[in-house]
């Protein structure tokens, strides 16, 4: 065990998966010689050679489609898109092909692939480097959508994603890449892809979030505690399929729900969670469901980035008004 970053945990998981299954191959722009622009694939070329770690030309549709073709032939491609903002040409392939191949061939051909991509704002990157559009992927039938929020969960969830027999979109919050270190055992233990993680027990209000916002949400929970409010924090982790039960059980206990995500509010995945609770847990609700989200605007360039990101203060405020509601 050693204290490592989320980024190193990803590398560890990929290396482990490549070790245990020779069908696992890595592909993308700058993933081989350069080890990825964030260094997530650092060292893999040296260790597994240039037939398993592949630098591709600059063509996202091709990378996505190639992965589908490889997967149909039984490989387990792990394709990196350099930033979420450049991954959109892959949507056509995910929606029309990756997520459908098994279904449309009635199980004859399958598509065990992973699309990894960094997501989110907060690292003062240039234009188009700060998107959080996870809901677009989470809406696509046939996919799994996973977002880790700690080194250990990154390791276990990525392993599970690579081993999964179906296509997985694996979204990595850049803001967390190097933000925290954690002991991670490289023990090959995967985490389940269909459960939320309750990171903190609480009794007054449930805070549901995922990805980078887990950080601010946990901080908000600390602040709330200081004010005598006990917040339960749920990290959704796997958006699709969604573990509604854990969320409902928490809301049943606390009676109050605030959903936090960095993505634009309108049509964001927070809506889905709120809707599930309004459908299946309405009677437990003692307050309106709050949502603290990114505004429905273009993620701004660095100067206005901090003003764009949902803040700890906004979360605290929303939780407090939920608790104060009577």
């Amino acid at each position: 065990m050693s204290e490592i970053t989320l980024l190193s945990a990803l590398t560890l998981a990929m290396a482990r998966a490549m070790e245990e299954d020779e069908n696992v191959v890595i592909l993308g722009q700058d993933v081989a010689v350069n080890g990825g622009v964030f260094r997530a694939t650092e060292g893999l070329l040296e260790r597994f050679g240039n037939e398993r770690v592949l630098d591709t030309p600059l063509a996202e549709t091709m990378i996505a489609g190639m992965a589908v073709g490889m997967a149909a032939e039984g490989l387990r491609p792990v394709a990196e898109f350099q930033f979420m903002g450049f991954s959109y040409p892959a949507i056509d392939q995910l929606l029309n092909h990756g997520g459908r191949l098994r279904n449309r061939s009635r199980g004859r051909l399958t598509c065990p692939l992973v699309f990894r991509t960094p997501m989110g704002a907060g690292i003062h990157a240039p234009e188009h480097h700060s998107d959080s559009t996870e809901v677009m992927f989470a809406h696509i039938p046939g996919l799994r959508v996973v977002i880790p929020s700690s080194p250990a969960r990154a390791y276990g969830l990525l392993l599970a994603s690579i081993r999964d027999p179906d296509p997985v979109v694996f979204l990595e919050p850049t803001r967390l890449y190097r933000a925290l270190r954690e002991d991670v055992a490289d023990d090959g233990e995967a985490l389940p892809l269909d459960t939320c993680f309750t990171l903190r027990q609480g009794s007054d209000v449930t805070l549901v979030t995922w990805g980078a916002m887990v950080k601010e949400t946990l901080a908000a929970a600390d602040s709330l505690e200081a004010d005598g409010i006990s917040a339960e924090v749920v990290d959704v982790a796997t958006l699709k399929p969604l573990d509604t039960e854990t969320i409902l059980a928490s809301v049943e206990k606390t009676g109050r729900l605030v959903i936090i995500h960095e993505a634009a509010k309108t049509g964001g995945f927070g809506g889905e969670i709120a809707a599930q609770v309004a459908e299946h847990g309405l009677l437990h609700l003692q307050a309106p469901i709050g949502r603290v989200c990114g505004y429905d605007v273009v993620p701004p360039l660095p100067k206005l980035e901090d003003a764009f990101l949902p803040s700890e203060a906004r979360i605290v405020e929303a939780a407090e008004s939920a608790v104060a509601f009577a």
Partner: protein, 383 residues
């Protein structure tokens, strides 16, 4: 600063493409030249235009090709009539393009992988996809893509050119595993305008992948004619952008198609890199049964093309060699009709899938979160 714009201009000689540039000053020299070849073996009347490849001298081979093309055409006609009577969904006819699919498929190995559009029934039939399956697919049943024959071939690709990028993925898998297999991707002239096609061609070139692109240039993409699709004089030259060679063939001449396919596939198989074949053909029918070509196609165009028909051409060649007869033709037609009728009956007798089938092939294991939805679909209560 733009006052400089009008100054100091020297006209550089421009050439019409296809003409080799004559070097002028030292400052300006030709550094690369390219050519596109055209291959034809049988003229429209079925006469050889030169020495033939040896397979064309083999009666067994040539009659087998002919039989498969006639079966395809018989099937195709029946599919259209079934659609007209409401027994089949929208159907894209391959009338007039049989030589392409048959010629290409006939030189593929069983464990090669075929990836095509919706118009390559000829290739699928040769590869062993059953007529029932083709009916079933166009009848609106996913099980038609669960090919009983070539298990690794892709289902037909409806989203234009998307299968070109799958093909380079399949070919990459083959190459990384050092298997002597080839991916063959058949697409239309319209498909060559799409970025997917080009991205695939480019990767195929730079990774020297065992993949062959075959363009069924049937001159139309629904209502858009070939000349409105691209200014390229040939579609074969699109390969030049990927750093390899394309060849144009008479796509109504099965000898030329098969010859070009043999060469490209074996080159690819033996590590020589990708190939691209533009097969010149013609869409003798409507785009699909939902289309009316009369709205946009010059009046006599289709009938003028009759004389280039690939089935008639091969028939004439067989006749000339004395390998065929009216008698044989009669028997063949009867046999094809019978087989198609049999397939039709089998298709119509297929028991529909359970409603829940739409859930059961979505993931290897249905996520618990979807159980409630599946229950509703099965007739249970709404969530």
């Amino acid at each position: 600063m733009t006052t400089l714009v009008k100054q100091g201009r020297i006209r550089v000689k421009r050439k019409t493409p296809g003409e080799v540039f004559e070097c002028g000053v030292d400052a300006d020299r030709t550094i690369a030249t390219f050519a596109v070849r055209y291959l034809q073996h049988l003229d429209p009347s079925g006469q050889p235009v030169g020495p033939l490849p040896s397979f064309a001298e083999d009666a067994e081979v040539m009659t087998a090709l002919y039989k498969s093309m006639v079966l395809t055409r018989t099937f195709d006609g029946r599919a259209i009539s079934l659609q007209r009577t409401g027994q089949l969904g929208t159907y894209p006819s391959c009338l007039g393009q049989e030589a392409i699919g048959t010629g290409v498929a006939s030189v593929m190995a069983d464990d090669d992988v075929l990836l095509t559009t919706y118009r390559e029934q000829a290739a699928h039939i040769w590869r062993g996809v059953t007529l029932e399956e083709i009916f079933q697919y166009w009848g609106g049943d996913e099980r038609g893509s669960d090919f009983s024959g070539p298990r690794r071939d892709f289902p037909v690709c409806v989203t234009i050119a998307a299968h070109a990028v799958h093909a380079v993925g399949v070919a990459s898998a083959m190459k990384l595993r050092h298997e002597p297999r080839v991916a063959v991707c058949v697409l239309g002239d319209g498909a060559t305008s799409k970025g997917d096609f080009y991205e695939a061609v480019n990767l195929a070139g730079v990774w020297r992948l065992p993949v062959v692109f075959v363009i069924n240039n049937n001159q139309w993409a629904i209502s858009v004619p070939r000349h409105a699709q691209t200014a390229a004089e040939t579609l074969a030259q699109k390969a030049i952008a990927g750093g390899f060679e394309g060849v144009q063939v008479d796509g109504n001449d099965i000898v030329a198609v098969r010859q070009a396919a043999t060469d490209a596939i074996e080159t690819a198989r033996t590590g020589g890199g990708p190939g691209l074949i533009e097969a010149l053909s013609y869409r003798m029918g409507d785009h699909t049964t939902a289309d009316d070509a009369g709205r946009y196609r010059p009046k006599d165009e289709a009938s003028n093309h009759q004389s280039k028909d690939p089935v008639a051409r091969l028939r004439a060649f067989l006749d000339d060699r004395g390998w065929w007869s009216k008698e044989k033709e009669k028997t063949l037609i009867a046999k094809c009709k019978a087989r198609v009728e049999e397939a039709k009956e089998a298709y119509l007798a297929i028991v529909p899938e359970e409603t829940t089938a739409m859930f059961d092939h979505l993931y290897e294991t249905l996520p618990p979160a979807l159980a409630a939805q599946r229950n509703i679909a099965a007739g249970g209560d709404d969530e």
